[in-house]
Symmetry: C2
Subunit: 222 residues, 2 copies
């Protein structure tokens, strides 16, 4: 799908697990397009609590905010061994064939990132532990499907239960119990970093009620 020549015209960088793609203090002069592996943006509190605020999957651009000239606000770390193309910022506007109209791309990228963050706020604020985990699984699967990385309800799932815990805001051992529950009811299979959605409909049903459409009442507290 992608032009092979333009793909290889950028430097392919390798990262080990836990290696930084970005740190808040240092200024980054390029943008990454992930080729293989998963990355995560997170925030760490002084007492050790950690919250992962975004996931970056293969095929996705990591941190479009950087295009705005600012340095990263939160660290981004490789959650698995990772390969990514480093796209120098100053080349982006000169390559309409590759990144298209840069301003429009950046805008739409930021809007998408914003919606992702809003989605997770709702997730963390409203949903139960089981719903959050099901929703995470659905989101990951859908994003991988969007870039053709799924086959017949199967996809990669390299996240540690500790990492899932830091995404969905519940404790690691509770993540374990919820996952066991899901496996026990035959909704998913999850072994060896591979995920199978045995019953996608049931899974979506468990990931919380859908949002209402716009025309509903502003405030309805019975």
């Amino acid at each position: 799908m992608a032009n092979h020549a333009t793909q290889t015209s950028f430097a392919l960088r390798h990262f080990r697990r836990s290696e930084f793609l970005a740190r808040p203090t240092e200024h980054s002069d390029n943008l990454y397009r992930i080729q293989e592996g998963w990355a995560g943006q997170y925030r760490l509190l002084k007492d050790g609590r950690r919250q992962i605020t975004a996931l970056f999957l293969p095929g996705e651009y990591c941190e479009p905010q950087w295009l705005l000239g600012a340095s990263a606000t939160l660290p981004v770390v490789a959650l698995t061994p990772l390969r990514a193309y480093a796209i120098p910022l100053d080349q982006i506007s000169r390559r309409p064939d590759h990144l298209g109209d840069s301003a429009a791309r950046v805008f739409s990228g930021m809007l998408k990132a914003m919606r992702g963050r809003e989605r997770w706020i709702v997730n963390l604020g409203c949903l139960t532990a089981t719903e959050r985990i099901c929703d995470l699984i659905c989101e990951v699967y859908d994003r991988l499907e969007g870039t053709g990385q799924t086959i017949k309800n199967r996809c990669a799932m390299p996240l540690t239960q500790y990492e899932i815990a830091d995404i969905v805001g519940i404790s690691p051992v509770h993540v374990n119990r919820v996952l066991q529950g899901l496996r026990g009811t035959g909704i998913i299979e999850l072994r060896n970093r591979r995920l199978v959605l045995c019953d996608p409909a049931a899974l979506r049903h468990m990931s919380g009620p859908p949002a209402t459409v716009g025309s509903s009442a502003a405030i309805a507290e019975p």
Copy 2:
């Protein structure tokens, strides 16, 4: 500070409590600058659960995303009676004296909004009920202080306990008990929609540990 002529050159619109500033379906052709009153962006789930994803306070621009030409993604509602200037989108680029370089303004506005969302993800994912409420109070106070709307540790606080609950993701009655605890220890006073920070240092201390700086270890799970 603001030029009176430019201020009054935009239409001042009034909203009753619970009235919409924006609805997801309809296309909005202007941006609001809030003059007085509070607004909130939220999402409502089919079973009645609601999560407020952003607050808009006097002096702030409501929904800079609209500048990108897209319609609103989530509804925005007046949480109090509200007055706001409606700034037509097509006038923004023609008025460098008022909004400055529009592209740069929009970018920085989006970045700020993004950081706000990230902050709330961390808040909802990591903090306890008391910490979340203290953090909300701190954030609101700081934002009001930034636009000169505080006097000697006092500011407005028109949010209902139900609304606070839908911001911090805990139940209304628990919000009540947490607030009583804070009042009981003399850290804050909160009566008649007015807030007093009796002990700002203690309040900040209760709003959770600060974030680590960038140079810390990527993963530290003891």
